[in-house]
Amino acid sequence: MEAVHPASGVATLSWLLLALPAFGALVLLIGGKRTDKWGHLLGCLTIIAAFVIGLITFINATGLAVADRVQELHLFSWIPVNALQVDFGLRLDPLSLTFVLLITGVGGLIHIYSIGYMSHDRDRRRFFAYLNLFVASMLLLVLSDSFVTLYLGWEGVGLASYLLIGWYTDRPAAATAAKKAFLMNRVGDVGLAIAIFILFANLHTTQYSVVFANIHTLSPGTITAIALLLLLGACGKSGQFPLQSWLPDAMEGPTPVSALIHAATMVTAGVYLVCRSNPIYDLTTAGRLTVVFVGAITLLIGCVVGCAYDDIKKVLAYSTVSQIGYMMLAAGLGPFGYALAIVHLLTHGFFKAGLFLGAGSVMHGMDDEVNMRKFGGLFKRMPITAVTFGLGYLAIIGFPGLSGYFSKDAIIDAAFNQPGWEGWVFGLAAAIGAGLTAFYMTRLVLMTFFGKERWRDQKSVNGNDFHPHEASPVMWVPMVILAVGSIGAGAYLSIGHRLSDWLTPSLGALQERSAGPLSSIEITILTLVLAAIGVLVAFVVVGRRDVPVVRPERVSWPVRAARANLYGDALNETLIARPGLWLDRALVFGDKFGIDGAVNGIGILFRGSSGRLRKLQTGFVRSYALSMLGGAIVLIGALLLVRFSG
C-alpha cells in the first residue's frame, strides 16, 4: 500500500468534478420550465467541463512520482458526532482518476447523444437533470475517501437509476421495473451498510487510508464477513447472482440511460467496490473464492439467457450481466485480477456503451421497436449505425486485435491459471461464456442488420409503418467515437501492461502466474475456437434460415428456461418473497392472537369481572351500611381474637 499524500496543485480543484454536475442538476431541477430551452446544453456543458478538469487532474497525476500518486483532498467535516467523525474528502489515486475519465468521458458522449435521442421528449430538461445527478453521484462514489461518503454516492446513483428507469411514467412496466431495481438494490445496500458498521465498530473510522492500513489487525472471520457483505452490496448494484434479475428489466428506461447507467458505469460500481477494497479481499481467501463463484455463475447465466431473448435491449442487458460477471471473476482472483477487471471494465464501457447507443439508434429509426424478429436487412438503411455496432460486436466477442480480445482473453487466461480444480472450473466457465457470447451477439447482429427485410409488412408497437433511417450526427458522432474506443482501447491499455502499471499504487502490482493446466497460447486458441464455433452456429441457425416473425412457442426446455431468465425471478419469488410473506403472515397471526390476545384478554377479564362486581354498587345506602356493619364486626372479632386468645 502506497503512502497517502494531501492533494496539492491542480488536484485541489478536483472538488469541481462533483460540484459541476451537481450544480447542473440543481439548476435544472429548481429552474423548472424556464430552463427548457437551454437545459440540455447546460447538462452537456457541465459534464464536458468535468471531463476537462478530470483530464487535467489525470495528466497532472501522471507527471507525479509513482509514490506520490495517491492523494487525498479534505473538503469539510461532514458528520462531526462525538465518536463518529466522518470527513467529506476526495481520494485522488490512479483508480479513481481512471473512473473519473470513464464516467465523464462516456457520460459526456451519452449526454450529447441524448440531445438527439430525447429531442421528442417534452421533459428532456428533467432528463438531463437526472443524468447530471447521476454523474455527480457516480463521481462522488468513485472519488470518496471513506466508506460513508462512498455510501452517499452509492445511494445517489441508486436514486438516479430509479428515476431514470421509471422515466416513462405512463408505462406500468417501467414503474414496476424501477421499483424492482430499487428494492433489489436495497438488499445489496443493507449488506454494504452492515459492512460499514462492522468496519466502524472495529476500527472506529471508515476512512480508506486508515481502514486499509489497519484491516490486518482484525480477526480472519471478521474480515471474511466484511468481504462477503461488501460482495452482497456489489451484487445488488452490479446485477450479480443472485440479485441479477433487476438489470434486464431496467431496460425499460430510455436507451441512453441503459448505455450510461446500466452498461458502462453504475453497474460496474460493484466491481469498483471490490477492487477498491482490495486490501480487505487480499486477506480472505474464502471471500475471494466467493467473488469468483458469483462472477462465474453470473457470466454463464447472462450468456445463456442472452441467447434466448428477441428484445435487442434485453439481449444487450444480459450481455452486460455476463460481462460484469467476467469482471467479478477477475476481481475475485485477487492480485492476479484486479487490474484485469478494471481493464475489462473500461473496454466494456466503450463497446457496450457503443452497442447500446447503436441499439438506441436502431430503435430511433424503427419507431421504438425492440423486437429483433421485426428487424432485418437494416445494414443498407443505417450504415453508420451498422458499422459502429459491428465494431462493438467484434470487440465483445473478442475478435483478435480489438478491445475485447485483450481484456477478456486476459481474464480467461488468469482464470485458467489457478491451481488445481479452480483453474479448470473457472477457466472453462469463462471460455464457454466467450463461446456463448459469440453466439448470441452474432445472432443479434444477423437478425438486426442482415437477412430479409422482415419489417416491410409489419407494424411497429405504436401502430406505424417502419421507415428505417440513419440518425442525426449528434447521435452518430458519439457512436463513432465509442467505436474507435472499441477498436483501440484494449490494445492501448493492455499492451505493455500500461493500465495495470498505472493502477499499481491503488491495486497493487498485477501478478501473473502459470499454474494452470494450459499454456497461454493454448488458452487463446481454445477461446478463439469456441468463439468461432459460436459464430458458426449462429450463422447456421439464424443466418441460413428465415427468421420467423412470430416467436415460436414450441421450443426445447433449455430455451424455455432461458426465456424465463433461467428461473431467476421464480427463484427470488420462491426463496425470498414467499417465505417473507409467510413469515409476515405468521407474525401478523402471532401479533393478533398472541400479543393482542394477551393484552385484550387481560382487558376482557377485568371488564367482565368488574361488570359483575359493580353490581354490588346498588346505590342503596342501607346495603352499604349493612356491609360496613359486617366489616366492623369482623374487625372487632379479629381484635378480640388477638386480645383474648394469647
Binding site: 346498588t618 342503596f620 366492623a632 364486626i633 378480640l640
Partner: protein, 290 residues
C-alpha cells in the same frame, strides 16, 4: 344470654362493687324503659311516634347520667337532647309531613334478616367483651372530683378551659361551620325565582313595547251608584271602555245605569214626551257583550 346470667351471679357475690340500693332500683326501673323506648322507636311505623319513643329513651339516659355522678351531663342531656334536638327532629317531621311513615314492604332482599343477625352479633360481641373484661371491676367513683373545688360543673368547666381548651375551641369552629352549612343547604334564596322580573324591569319592558300597552288595564267601573265589579268603566265621553270588560263576567248593560250616569254628571233628562223612545239614549254607545 347465659353471660348475663353469669354476670348476675358474679355481681351478686361481689359486694365491694355494689352500688347503692336506690340506684339499683332506679336502674331496674329506667333501664327497661330506655330499652322499651329504643325498641318502640325501632318498630313504630309513624316517624313522629318514633321520635317520641326516642325522647323517652333519652330522658331515661339523662337520669342515668345524674345518678352516675354526672349531674351536669344529665341536665345537658335533658335540655339539649330531649329539649332541643328532638324538637328539631319533630319540626322537620312536621315540615316533611305525610311522608313520615314507612311502608311495610322491604325492597332490599335479605336486608331485615341480615340486619337482625348482625345487630344481635354486635350486641353479643359487646356483651362478650364486657363480660370478659369487666366482671370484677372496682368502681373508683367520682365522689372526690364532684365534692372538691366547686363540684362537678366547676371541675368540668376547669378541665374544658385548661386541659381541653384546644378541642373546645375546635368545637366552636365546628358549630359555626354547621350553622353556616345549614343555612346554605336550607336556604332557597333567589335561585328558585330566577326568571321572575322586578317591577322596575316590567316598567322598562312595557315602555319598550314588549307588552300590548304601557299602562295597567282600566279597573271596573265601580261608581258611587253601582258597587258591582261587573260594571264597565266609562271613558270621559261617557262611552264604555272595552278593556274594562271582563271575559268571565257578564257586564251590566250600559242602559241599566244610564240614569245614574246622568244624575252623577248633571245632564239628567227629565221625563218628557220622548222619554220612552229609543232616541232618548242615542248618545250612548252600544254595549258590547262578551
Amino acid at each position: 344470654m347465659t353471660h348475663e346470667a353469669l354476670l348476675f351471679v358474679q355481681a351478686a357475690s361481689d359486694t365491694a362493687n355494689r352500688v347503692g340500693a336506690g340506684e339499683t332500683i332506679i336502674f331496674w326501673i329506667l333501664g327497661p324503659i330506655a330499652l322499651a323506648g329504643a325498641l318502640g322507636m325501632l318498630f313504630a311505623r309513624n316517624a313522629v311516634h318514633s321520635a317520641l319513643w326516642l325522647v323517652l329513651t333519652m330522658f331515661s339516659l339523662g337520669v342515668f347520667y345524674m345518678i352516675e355522678q354526672a349531674p351536669f351531663l344529665g341536665f345537658v342531656q335533658i335540655i339539649v337532647y330531649t329539649g332541643a334536638i328532638m324538637m328539631l327532629f319533630l319540626f322537620v317531621l312536621m315540615m316533611v309531613g305525610k311522608e313520615s311513615s314507612d311502608s311495610v314492604v322491604e325492597v332490599l332482599r335479605g336486608q331485615r334478616l341480615w340486619a337482625g343477625i348482625l345487630g344481635v352479633g354486635v350486641a353479643g360481641l359487646f356483651i362478650g367483651i364486657v363480660a370478659q373484661s369487666l366482671d370484677d371491676v372496682t368502681s373508683a367513683n367520682l365522689n372526690g372530683p364532684n365534692s372538691t373545688n366547686g363540684g362537678n360543673v366547676a371541675n368540668i368547666g376547669r378541665s374544658l378551659f385548661t386541659d381541653f381548651l384546644f378541642p373546645f375551641e375546635l368545637t366552636s369552629a365546628l358549630l359555626i361551620t354547621a350553622a353556616i352549612g345549614a343555612i346554605v343547604l336550607a336556604y332557597t334564596g333567589k335561585a328558585d325565582k330566577s326568571g321572575r322580573k322586578t317591577q322596575r324591569d316590567l316598567v322598562a319592558m312595557r315602555f319598550r313595547g314588549e307588552y300590548s300597552r304601557p299602562s295597567p288595564l282600566p279597573g271596573p267601573g265601580v261608581f258611587a251608584t253601582a258597587n258591582s265589579v261587573a260594571t264597565p268603566a266609562l271613558l270621559p265621553d261617557g262611552s264604555v271602555a272595552p278593556e274594562s270588560l271582563s271575559d268571565l263576567i257578564d257586564s251590566v248593560p250600559v242602559t241599566d245605569f244610564a240614569h245614574d250616569l246622568e244624575v252623577s254628571s248633571g245632564t239628567e233628562h227629565h221625563a218628557g214626551a220622548h222619554a220612552l223612545t229609543e232616541s232618548g239614549s242615542d248618545s250612548d254607545e252600544e254595549v258590547t257583550r262578551s
